[in-house]
């Protein structure tokens, strides 16, 4: 979809490709290749698919093979991967923050495992994880104006020059990323899976709590 929000699309694809190559392996890659890109406006698929009926459980839809569900899971996974990368970068630059940041980072590893069951979660060496590459790649794309979920996090992970920042600005950046992720989780629910909606809402709750905790440290 190069004609609509090229930066956002590129960064998401890049994130997923790197995720497939470095984390998930061949099986993950084949799964990802079937991943349909979301429309350029982020909220649109949910609203249009939802239609009139209030029932959140449409029979036959909403299973793990539902393409819309798969696409949503991968959008969220891209956000979680970007957050993991941001934490890894912060931990590498400021090891003294490990006690405060490591538990928060672990929450995101659990989120990633929950939205993509069976995918190996990246363990936590604070330096040289594949996810760091993701953040750097995502940063190079232009900031999109779309409200699409993963754009909010992936495009803002690690502004240029963040490496030399002191602990307070790093904490502030992480808080902003968490708040963006929490906001994205409010606007990107599946049309046909109540249990996934429940999970994503909870992940958003965790991210909102992270943001407040990080700001309290700051």
């Amino acid at each position: 979809m190069p004609e609509s929000a090229p930066g956002a699309r590129l960064s998401r694809r890049t994130v997923l490709r790197l995720l497939a190559g470095s984390v998930m392996g061949a099986a993950g890659a084949s799964l990802l290749s079937g991943c349909k890109p979301a429309s350029s406006s982020g909220e649109a698929p949910t609203d249009t698919q939802r239609g009139g009926a209030a029932g959140a459980s449409t029979p036959g839809a909403g299973g793990p093979d539902d393409p819309a569900i798969k696409a949503l899971a991968h959008r969220v996974a891209a956000d979680e991967t970007a957050l993991l990368a941001a934490y890894d970068k912060a931990l590498a630059a400021h090891p003294e923050l490990a006690a405060a940041l490591a538990p928060l980072r672990d929450d995101h590893a659990r989120h990633l495992a929950a939205v993509l069951p069976g995918s190996p979660t990246p363990s936590a060496p604070p330096t040289s994880t594949p996810a760091s590459t993701v953040a750097r790649t995502a940063t190079t794309s232009a900031a999109p104006t779309s409200a699409a979920a993963s754009n909010a996090v992936a495009s803002s992970a690690g502004p240029p020059g963040a490496a030399g920042l002191g602990p307070a600005p790093v904490l502030g950046q992480l808080a902003a990323l968490e708040a963006a992720a929490a906001a994205a989780r409010l606007n990107d629910f599946p049309a046909s899976s109540g249990s996934l909606a429940r999970l994503l809402a909870s992940i958003g709750g965790c991210e909102a709590a992270h943001a407040s905790v990080l700001r309290a440290i700051t």
Binding site: D47, R50, A54, G55, A56, P103, L104, D106, D107, R110, H111, A114, A182, R185, L186, N187, F189, A191, G194, S195, L196, A197, R198, L199, A201, S202, I203, G204, G205, C206, E207, A208, A209, H210, S212, V213
Partner: protein, 170 residues
Amino acid sequence: MSEPRRSTSPATGSTPPPTTRPTTPPPAALAGALLAAVEAENAAIYGYSLAGARLASAHDRLAALGDYDVHRAQLQAVAGWAADRGLTPPPPAAVYALPTATVSDAAAASGLLAQVEESTAARYADLVAVATGSLQRAAALALQAAAVREARWRGGCVAFPGLVGRLPGL
């Protein structure tokens, strides 16, 4: 759903019903989740009034007072969501069963409030699972607010607020 109410202006007690939404009876799961959320807000108000005075520092007591007011406002909001859909929430109970029977000291008070918020988050998670559109978003936002309060009283975050004890399988 045997509720036959079809009027566009249901008698819903004190909460003023918006006039834009046609009042068709909600599915049973949605009705149950809405009423459970109302109940959770009533229980939270009860929990805060019980635990607030036991908190040690003035800072915590002030925070609890603010949270208490938030829950009172949120109760009105949720009751409004229910009334919009022709539901009449029951009045608050005199006593709610809380996870902690006695609140003997400040630590117990903080722990109780953390559990109150986790329970509140769980009811909003249930509502997210069955709601759609703006109601689903509002429930998710309420879950986030509960998770923020929970983290403050707990002194740390949980990975899946509102789902504690529930994963896997959701």
